[in-house]
Amino acid sequence: MRPLDAIGFAVTSLGGNRVRTLLMLLAMAIGVAAVVLLTGIGNGARLYIVDQFASLGTNLVIVIPGRAETASNTPATLVGETPRDLTLDDARALARSETVRRLTPLSVGEMTIAWRGKERQIPLFGSTASLLEIHHLRLERGTFLPEEDMEIARPVCVIGAKVYRELFGQQNALGELVRLGGFRCRVIGILGSEGRSLGLDTEEMVIVPVAFAQMLLNTEGLFRILIEARDLATIDRLKAHINATIAKRHYGEEDVTIITQDSVLATFDKILQVLTLTVAAIAGISLVVAGILIMNVMLMAVAQRTAEIGLCKALGAGRLQIMALLVTEALLLSAIGGLVGLALGFAGSWLAVQFYPTLNTTPPSWAIAAAFGTALGTGFLFSLLPARRAARLDPIQALARR
């Protein structure tokens, strides 16, 4: 039989039982749509997060106290301490290199802020003036931390937009004295409400000079040091400089972990890619379920069409031809179901963008190909058993059925 005739014959037989055909198409379409939509959303989330990171600048280098590869083996890590703290002196020493464009130490802790009887818990960030540019923060009103030596514990603070709203409402906050822990502190600036950066809600944070934060939190150690390299090409030299400086200052121990924005980005990208793949695989299971449905329905169809299959054999169709006819039917179903599924998936992606415009939910081309390919593959695979059964039918017994 010619391929086009085989397709035509398959169309007539699929049209012969419309409800059955529609059910199988629906199952296939839902499976393909699920794969396309879920990978689209997963991919969108990945792009969004990667984009967030990239906006911080890829030449950012983060120095964290303690070595990642040894940290898990030391008893100190069990209580959350690292062998040796990073200090402001370390930061100052690290700043002395032409590979460094900007540097800022970061000290982090929980603190209570209060103003005229109102108070709330806030994440406290101790840093320097450079944080504004390194972290791409936007100042709404007032000024940021003063450009001065990082050892000066000036009692001033810059507050997040939400902290401002909750404490001051519509009133003026600039120049007001708030209470941070046991100290009084003057508000000099209010951050813009651009939302989140690096997983931190900038609306909720309060930033003070790093030396003041160390006093408030009663610690010498820094949470980390953020360094912006002069450019991407100097990152390796900067890393060498960090290691050498730290080793010199920490008695020969290179006990810091250096994270570059690139590596963080790559790690996140990898994790999110695996997550997207996992979600796609889960959706793929629905395609297999659809394949099993096709198999069941085709087994039923073979039983119902026994006489027809017997007739085709009597009229000269061999086993292979009978198999080919049934497999063509299944492939046709899978292909149409797959196309409908792709359309549904794209429609779903479009709808998701209408609700979350920041999410680019365009499904990756590999997911489209994989979803369609899996649909065809399962259709083919699960039609083999019914097709084989049909091909093996004894024409005499088959024709005995009316």
Partner: protein, 225 residues
């Protein structure tokens, strides 16, 4: 045309061996008109199935057009059936979702004949069998006689050498049955070898050669009026 030599066919029914055909030898010449009669279970359908290559003998030899077809594989059997043999069944066996014309063209479709040629070959048959008005109707819109005419057109569209008819009038009234037999006899007069299995003695007697099968053997083989 057809030579059966000592052909036997055994079936196992309920653990017991039943000899549906017992060392049957039969020669059918090209262009012969033969009827096979006998009581139910006598083996006449088994004989027809073996003649039609739908079944293969357990022992003996079958020569079709001087070629030994006893041990052909599935593909060879299918190809030989397609080229040489036309089948007509008691229950027509038309595909319900196809039109009369599509049913008639089915053997050509399976043989990979292009649509234009299929149309060219089915048209004269549709005209000759009086189906022109009904060729775009589906089987459930046709009378019993019309359905059987569609089935006969389907059986001869591949220009087979032999036409095997299994109770072709068994599901028709007397009038329609008579018309069908007239049609088959017309095809025989045009040169086709015709083998009809029937219960009906009146139809059986119309054949030039009559075989009576009893208990898997040919009990009687008579020629002439």
């Amino acid at each position: 045309m057809i030579e059966l030599r000592e052909v036997s066919r055994l079936f196992t029914v309920g653990g017991q061996e039943v000899r549906a055909m017992d060392r049957v030898s039969l020669d059918i010449a090209s262009g012969e008109y033969l009827s096979i009669m006998g009581p139910s279970g006598s083996g006449k359908s088994t004989l027809l199935n073996i003649l039609g290559l739908l079944d293969t003998p357990d022992s003996g030899t079958y020569l079709l057009q001087d070629r030994d077809v006893t041990h052909l594989n599935d593909r060879q059997l299918a190809a030989t059936r397609s080229r040489t043999i036309g089948f007509i069944f008691q229950f027509f066996h038309l595909i319900p979702r196809l039109t009369a014309q599509q049913n008639i063209e089915l053997p050509l479709l399976l043989a990979g004949v292009p649509q234009r040629e299929r149309r060219e070959r089915s048209r004269p048959l549709i005209e000759a069998f009086g189906l022109a008005e009904r060729c775009h109707h589906r089987p459930d819109e046709l009378s019993g006689g019309q359905r059987q005419r569609v089935a006969i057109a389907r059986a001869v569209i591949n220009r087979p050498a032999i036409l095997l008819a299994d109770e072709p009038t068994g599901n028709l009234d007397r009038h329609a049955g008579g018309e069908i037999i007239d049609l088959l006899e017309g095809l025989h007069r045009d040169g086709l070898t015709l083998v009809v299995v029937t219960h009906d003695p009146e139809i059986g007697e119309r054949a030039a050669r009559r075989i009576r099968v009893v208990d898997g053997r040919i009990a009687n083989d008579s020629k002439g009026p």
